[in-house]
Symmetry: C2
């Protein structure tokens, strides 16, 4: 008897545990997660977690690095794309990023919460600084600000990175509050986020042009 029942191969124990760990860590965070929760979610014996991953800490490190990639990759891919103008970067970033966040709504609070504990452990491996410096985005913003003149021309470009990420990410972090505020269910909330795909680029360009 082969293990293949249909055309889809069932993942092995190691993969099952990692997927279960992603699910539980993302939902509850490191401190509130019990290794038994992960084993149960995977439908496997608890000892297999240590057999394949040595420790809860080590398994978390692997999961965290993957989630950090997911959180930063689509961001950096757009910001570093030398083909794109500033407006092109804004449009593409907002659309792609909100798409990712709609798919993984728990990702931002997980990342921010775990980075708030142990900030240096993970961020130094990510070299976010170097990537953004080399992307040319900061120069593009500064150039645009100079052109528009006015009050904003002397403002640090980092403010606009803060603005574009804030307007995309924060609604997902404060989702419980905004849902309580509006009375919207999951679908209604997603509808609002879909609207923001077109609204946020408009607002950001207004900020840059003032």
């Amino acid at each position: 008897m082969s293990k293949i029942t249909s055309s889809i191969q069932e993942p092995g124990a190691e993969e099952k545990i990692k997927e279960a760990a992603k699910k539980v860590f993302l939902a509850k965070g490191y401190a509130a997660t019990r290794t038994r929760d992960i084993a149960e979610e995977a439908g496997l014996n608890l000892a297999l977690l240590n057999y394949y991953f040595r420790s809860k800490e080590n398994l978390f490190h692997i999961v965290m690095m993957e989630k950090l990639q997911l959180f930063f990759n689509s961001m950096i891919a757009v910001f570093s794309n030398k083909e794109l103008s500033l407006d092109g970067k804004i449009d593409t970033f907002v659309d792609r990023y909100i798409t990712v966040l709609v798919q993984y709504p728990d990702l931002p609070i997980f990342i921010m919460s775990e980075l708030h504990q142990r900030p240096q452990e993970f961020l130094k491996e990510m070299k976010v600084r170097e990537v953004i410096q080399q992307s040319g985005l900061l120069q593009q913003i500064q150039e645009r600000l100079k052109l528009s003149g006015g009050v904003m021309s002397t403002v640090h470009p980092i403010h606009f990175i803060m603005n574009i990420t804030s307007l995309c990410v924060f609604p997902f972090i404060a989702k419980p509050i905004f849902q309580s505020l509006t009375g919207l269910e999951k679908e209604g909330f997603i509808a609002l986020m879909e609207q923001r795909k077109v609204l946020v680029p408009i607002w950001i360009k207004q900020m840059l042009g003032g």
Copy 2:
């Protein structure tokens, strides 16, 4: 011998424990906090925590409610002030709120993280919905949007509540990332936030007027 050494009265054990609990819960979150950490921080015997507060859970509930008040009160006070125009609310809110957040930079990630677990437990007691409905803020936004005409006139006012809170709060939530990104220490980061006290109102008014 009186307990009074100088003109300042030392707080009693109950108060010491609550203050220690605020400090530790805020820094580490509920799940990562050990009751022994709180007792040690207070410089008191562990049993006193249960003597005065019955349980970790109960102590947390008290701390969380106080921190929710701190997080929402200055917000609601401004938004509900019938004396203020829309522009007045924007200016006052941003200035006051960033002042609070500079003073308590860990407050937002704590609130968001704990609300993400148990969303209903705390939010239903806060009746955020009713307060915002009665504040008149949503009507003021809608009125302004109509006046300016254009694309934004049909957009839901909640988007602008999201925007103003996002631009103020998110930088504190993503502080480790922005510090890694800029290489700024605590003081440099605060300087950026001080700049945002004047910048955010400008940007928000641009959004409303487009």
